[in-house]
Symmetry: C2
Subunit: 484 residues, 2 copies
């Protein structure tokens, strides 16, 4: 039962029975209501409906809003302060904590980290049993031993000058390794001179956004579905985001007009999971050529296609009008903070300037990744990961067919996430039911641009990259329990 | 003999004999003039007098300016294009290459790297024999083996969640290790919650500058001498830099008024080499308390004092009004791109927001540095480095006393650089003579703010950190040859 929390303008989905175990006990007791309220508040913070720093209403007014006892609210607040989700400052009331994982953490699969690193939650019941928020690969499968071997070889053989202040484009060893790899694996036309290393794709978008703004651009076309974090970064750089229509054939670029640039995920639309259709691929490149526009191709998971060979990057069609963005965050680990852009030669100078006069990415990991790629370890790791994620997707699809015949995985067999279409009107209740089951996942609406041009659709976005292998069967089982 | 190059507004210091070997041959030959011109142009690019991207005058007009044959200019241009310093684009003339190490590289001791990583200069005569530009420690002494051991321990023991998207403040392991270290080694009052990891001090200044600008600040006080790169970063963040007077007692903070912040190097003024006097230390902190101002304490080489125990950080006097900035760039290597800020609690949220919603620094090096510090390896490395640099400074001071009695090393025995005062009017000619000798170094005027409030002084800033140990005696010998 959704209760509107007038004071904050968010809906709290309170389970009126206060139970999540199905035992049916404690139906209307204070303890049950208190647990229901703490869970609902925690979820509101975790999903971003309550932003960090937000001041909460007094326990008195919230109690009145919800029609429950004031002490119950005060106790719930106290629990959440003890767990680190909320902070209580003397004289200034209760606030959502700043140490709570901020937006992209929530977007990118880290909803499960404790609210702050140092505040050990008193009880860990707030930690979901399974993390199905998309964006983070299986970190338990990070090839530590191979990586350390590569680090040893790289650091042993590097000239000592490599440890000094560096070229803002990044280390030449890595740019050279990437040029060869991207050409072979993704059909990218790249030479090392026009590759720039960034601290993740989001950092890369910040640099390009800054460069575009310096060119006088004030807006950029985006897709109707995508990452709020990316739109925010572009907005911070001074670019308004204008979504393109999304229809049954995917993103439709026909309405591109005088924007200087468009941000797309051509190989595997995030999160909708469809590739950009071949005629629309051509149309985008034609538009860029005709108008001098720029296509930002976010190829976040381009190496991971399970039904066929990956389609080559759009950049291969026109390196002068397409910026290719790739990352080690999905193929290896986000913590490396290594991503790459292949830039049209005309844009390199401005993007490098936006990065600064010197490199801001550590050279040791750059040298190690270069060695990791050239030694073949990267290919081996990607092949093994592809097999692992493909199996997980297969398990998921089989389980759906068997246990949730009304729910369908849409999109191509690729990447680390699936979109599960739901019967109309069920999205929020399924997400809430999932939270009760200890499943962290996002509704499709979480990824919908506020000005999206797309028919509404109820769906879940289920990431299957994050749980370790041993947890996957349990995660699928828990998921099937909450599906209609 | 300085010839003014009217077309570009820079002075080219052409040796009219065209010789640098002292053989006296080839006095006015085309080959000698050509070599003199290429060296002078190369030096102008290297020192930043000719900025990357600058369009050079046609060979015809430069030849006319300098009163030499057009072919000589054309040949010199061709040499420098082949070496990668210049680029010749068809139809658009000759430009200073973009791959040439930009400002901070020149400022911070990397003037010796070849102009681009991939363009192998045909002849390496442009590479100085000795690099005495301050800012880079002895990279040959980077503790590779110890670092790899720490990396293995850190990566082996890290929880796999550490490899995901992270807290914008940086890894808690590193912040915890730094809090203890900085308290012990520098008298900093820090807790891990208020430490933020940045990609170098320059990156940290960018974040603070952005936060201050967001608070409405439009100007920041700086010292009359310092790093142009830092002033540029603050300017890019929207803050005008206003220099404080520098007198015989060092930087004078008496004129601080309504600025929101001041950037200082209290332990060891860069580059002048004096500490901030005790009464002025108090005055700065008093000003900050009185006005709610903020002191940015750049403690780039605080661990390296040779005459006594280092003076504790200013931050210890008032953690609520001082931002402490430290770095691994001097104690270990710039390539790590790891620095730290200890922030007043009231500023953390804004600075973290300027960094972004997620960490942009790689976690592996953060975990490794944490392990390196807590295992004691960092202390051992700093102790060994202190001894090494102290010996170099002693060698330098002894050599000056013996061979250049008119030149004095001013400033305290600390850090990695010395200021050598010169007889009035000799600064530029000594720098040029040094270039002929294959010595890369900077005049003091290179570090002077354009609105400096300080009596002019002829001096060299000599970095003794960069050359490997075996090269130091040779570097001192070469330096003494060019001193008056």
């Amino acid at each position: 039962m959704a209760k509107s929390w007038a004071t904050l303008g968010v809906d709290l989905h309170l389970d009126p029975t206060g139970t999540q175990t199905g035992t049916g006990t404690g139906a209307s007791t204070g303890a049950g209501v208190r647990r229901g309220l703490t869970d609902a508040l925690r979820d509101a913070v975790r999903t971003g409906r309550l932003a960090p720093g937000t001041r909460l209403p007094s326990s008195r007014s919230l109690a009145a809003d919800l029609g429950i006892a004031r002490n119950t609210v005060a106790d719930a607040y106290a629990d959440l302060v003890a767990e680190g989700w909320l902070t209580a400052r003397q004289g200034s009331g209760t606030h959502v904590g700043m140490g709570v994982p901020p937006t992209p953490l929530r977007q990118w699969g880290s909803a499960v980290v404790p609210p702050t690193d140092t505040t050990r939650p008193r009880r860990l019941r707030s930690r979901p049993a399974y993390d199905l928020v998309p964006g983070t690969p299986d970190l338990a499968a990070f090839p530590r031993t191979e990586w350390l071997k590569a680090a040893r070889r790289a650091l042993t053989s590097a000239p000592y000058q490599a440890l000094g202040y560096g070229d803002p484009r990044g280390r030449i060893e890595l740019r050279t390794a990437l040029a060869a790899y991207l050409s072979r694996a993704r059909g990218v036309r790249a030479d090392p001179e026009h590759i720039l290393i960034s601290a993740g794709i989001s950092n890369g978008l910040r640099l390009i956004g800054t460069a575009l703004r310096a060119r006088g651009s004030r807006a950029i076309a985006v897709e109707s579905y995508g990452l709020t974090a990316h739109w925010q970064i572009l907005a911070e750089a001074g670019l308004r985001t204008r979504p393109l229509p999304f229809d049954q054939l995917g993103t439709n670029p026909a309405q591109l007009t005088d924007e200087l640039a468009v941000l797309l995920t051509p190989a595997h639309q995030f999160p909708m999971g469809v590739p950009l259709r071949h005629d629309r691929r051509s149309a985008v490149v034609d538009w860029a050529r005709r108008t001098g526009g720029l296509v930002l191709e976010d190829d976040y998971d381009g190496e991971f296609r399970y039904d066929r060979q990956p389609i080559g990057a759009l950049q291969g069609l026109d390196p002068n009008h397409v910026v290719y963005l790739g990352t080690a965050s999905k193929s290896l680990a986000p913590g490396l903070r290594l991503a790459w852009m292949v830039l049209p030669p005309s844009l390199m100078e401005e993007v490098a300037k936006a990065k600064g006069d010197i490199d801001t990415c550590g050279v040791l990991d750059q040298l190690t990744l270069a060695e990791f790629i050239t030694s073949g370890a990267y290919d081996r790791h990607v092949r093994a990961a592809r097999l692992r994620y493909r199996r997980r997707r297969d398990t998921l699809v089989d389980a759906l067919a068997q246990h949730a015949p009304d729910v369908h995985a849409t999109g191509i067999a690729a990447g680390f996430h699936a979109v599960l279409s739901l019967p109309p009107g069920t999205e929020q209740s399924v997400v809430q039911a999932a939270a009760w089951q200890g499943l962290a996942l996002h509704a499709l609406s979480f990824y919908r641009h506020e000005h999206a041009v797309a028919a509404p659709m109820d769906a879940l976005v289920v990431g299957y990259g994050t749980p370790p292998d041993h947890a996957w069967a349990g995660a699928v089982e828990a998921l099937c329990r909450v599906l209609p």
